[in-house]
């Protein structure tokens, strides 16, 4: 209670008094039909907690961890520069302080304390040389197929460092759990990891890593002197420059836009350029491109409620299946895992499969 300054109270009140003009794009609302999980009602609850009206604190925090944090509400907001996620994050930080985390989120935070990553003990990866680095995100580390594919692409490109695993993580799991202090330490550690490797460019497959490093780190005073590039743009540029060549294939494909990639970075063209370079005919989903719905993530991720993330996974898989495409592609290892029901592949995997020698 009383966490917000005057300007923030005005902002959250404007959201709470709006007609919910962004609810149509909210994946959690669409998967559940729950009015409580729509942005305007979340804003009302935050305002009421700020004013001391909420009696069921645990119930309130439960709702805060049910939001997808995907940014669809920001994109569809009628106000400029308003992002409800910032307010939800503040509340999650309160929940963290009070140890009121959802079970799976809490487990990942505990793992972080022991192993420096959300998943537990793992090997440190350090390969290659050069001023360009590929950051193996936690989600990529868990997916050997994507990692192998990326390594094949990087080998074709030339000199590049690969680093990750062990206790190297951008800190996104801590950020979404509300552990702001822990997250800041991880941000500072990541800055050191990049600087000690002398990197000028960092490529990664995980949109959350890029969001953390470009948008959230600076808010905590951690500024990276490095260019961050998503793998989709990196591969699209290599194809354009003729540095890698691929054997074209004849099939239809639907691309699932990862939420942070489209909503926070505005990237929709690069992955499609890659897909078209492969010769595939794109069959857009009804909710594709800037209207794409979040995949729902994995248990304990941006949505802390594991059962709920499963419902969003199922909804999104259903939306994608409707295109009847032969191939389903994405550009985020978490999306790939969350949407396994449609046989999702990462675009890097398909590119690696189709790389030709000349």
């Amino acid at each position: 209670m009383k966490m917000l300054n005057k300007g923030e109270v005005e902002q959250i009140t404007s959201c709470a008094l709006c007609a919910n003009m962004c609810k149509h794009g909210c994946p959690v609302y669409l998967a559940t039909g729950s009015e409580t999980l729509t942005p305007q009602k979340i804003a009302r609850l935050i305002l009421y907690r700020e004013k001391g009206f909420i009696r069921d604190e645990a119930g309130f925090f439960k709702v805060m961890f049910q939001d997808a944090m995907c940014g669809a509400c920001r994109v569809n907001c009628i106000y400029n520069n308003f992002d409800l996620r910032d307010f939800i994050h503040k509340e999650r930080s309160e929940a963290f302080k009070k140890a009121l985390l959802p079970q799976e989120t809490g487990r990942r935070v505990e793992n972080f304390a022991r192993f420096g990553n959300p998943d537990g003990e793992r090997q440190l990866i350090q390969k290659g040389n050069g001023e360009t680095g590929y950051l193996v995100s936690c989600s990529t580390y868990r997916d050997a197929a994507i990692l192998g594919a990326v390594e094949k692409v990087l080998a074709a490109r030339g000199e590049c460092q690969e680093f990750g695993g062990g206790d190297i993580c951008c800190g996104a799991p801590l950020y979404y759990a509300g552990d702001t202090e822990g997250f800041k330490k991880v941000a500072e550690k990541m800055k050191g990891e990049i600087e000690q490797r002398g990197l000028k460019k960092v490529v990664t497959s995980c949109p959350a890593c890029i969001k953390m490093m470009t948008e959230i780190y600076p808010r905590l005073g951690v500024r990276l002197d490095v260019e961050l590039i998503h793998i989709s743009g990196f591969i699209a540029a290599l194809l354009k420059q003729g540095k890698i060549k691929v054997n074209r294939m004849k099939a239809t494909a639907t691309f699932h836009d990862p939420c942070l990639l489209v909503n926070d970075m505005g990237i929709t063209a690069a992955p499609r350029e890659v897909i078209e370079a492969l010769g595939l005919e794109i069959k857009e989903a009804v909710y594709g491109g800037k209207n794409a719905h979040c995949c729902g993530g994995l248990p304990g991720g941006k949505i802390g409620d594991s059962k709920l993330s499963g419902r969003v996974n199922a909804m999104r898989a259903g939306e994608l299946k409707e295109t009847g495409a032969e191939v389903y592609l994405s550009a985020c290892p978490t999306c790939k895992a969350a949407l396994a029901a449609v046989g999702m592949k990462d675009i890097a995997e398909l590119v690696a499969e189709r790389i030709s020698d000349g």
């Binding site: 149509h24 039909g33 009602k41």
Partner: protein
Amino acid sequence: MEIETFRSKRGKVPSGFIREVKDIVGGENVSQEETDLISYSLDYWMYGIFLSQYGKLPSLPAVVIAPGDSREIQGVLRCANKHRVGITPFGGGSGVLGGAIPGGDEAVLNLQRLNEFISLDEISCVAEFEAGIIGANLERELNHRGYSTGSIPQSFYCSTLGGWISTRAVGQFSTKYGKIEDMVLGMEVVLPDGNLVDIKPVPRRSTGPSLKDLFLGGEGALGIVTRAVVSVHPLPQKVVKQSFVFPSVAEALEVVRKILRGDARPAVVRVFDETESERYFGVKEVTVIFISEGEPDFMELEGAVVSRIARENGGQPRGESPVDRWLEKRFDIGLGPVAMQQGVVVDTIEVVSLFKDSANLYRDMVSSVKAVDGTIMVSGHFSHFYREGACLYLTFAGASPDSFRYYKDSWTAAMEATLRNNGSISHHHGIGFWRKEFMRRELGAEGVELLRKIKVALDKNGILNRGKLIEDAE
């Protein structure tokens, strides 16, 4: 501090009712959590929204139930009859007359899980949807397949198909595509006693009174619409945008009347008074915008007819930019929430009259609301045109130490002006609970009694949406 309710205290329903509905819809779809009760306590009734910023809500329902299909809704309503529990249907929660505000000892029936696109029949140009789908998503499904209903209300992004049907809603492109009653061909409705009526989709029939018209405007008091078949149009191949300014609202209305009499049917026709023209376009002249859309040859012709009649009758052309400005700003309601935080009460009122009364109604309604102590601003525009008349849409804002007195007096002034000028008290927002006191003067005592008899015949235990549409039986 705690939530203050002014309609009733947080109520109770029999525990047997809760137990039984959990068996019907599943325990995870029945909630008595504080967060849910707060979230379903209010729709978009503007005075309720104004008060909500202070933690004042009309009421907290006893329980929220979210069925997944018609069969579950049937079960819940039968159970409600058994236990005499009031049920308030909740669609998108975007209604502005309090039609979805529950009473304290009542259950909210959240219909938003029924949000699927079902089918498109391209031969017949009809599509079927579950009623809980949000308008923007309904259109996205259709647009993706090359079609549109043409129903684009200002609440497009937050209202549902079921809500459109239940309030007899209209969209901004209504002059060409018609209103929701023109679009709905068939529907499935769960009656208050739990029985199900399936009204098959056909263009027209002669089988006695139209049953679907019982529920077009039924406001959730006569039945719960669960799915509907609507008419659709191929996406337009040509869009012609025009605007003109006129010396007065009356002269602008006369031009629109002549255009419609000439059988032109622009999709959008809007006449903005000087105040709204200044707000939207930065000019203190009455501005009229037209959008014609459809087959290219027809639209060229329609555009020419509109232009000729407007110019011949004193219209000064202003090109496409005012139309583009309106298209850009038409969903922007951001000013209201900001003003409310300064203690300003804002609302809109939509009424309808024949052309012979339109200009007088506008003048009387604006001056009547302006005369209310506390008024800061009143403006109006006409939209949703017919060959015979038009909808007048008033926006007002004001502040007073007694905000409720100001709100009530403004509404009363507007309704009195409407009735004085032979208008109807609502064009498309409906009645809800807030406007029902004027129903007797709208329909006459006999008309209200007829409506009540229909309500009682359908809902003998009075469980559905109590206190809405008509006064409860004494």
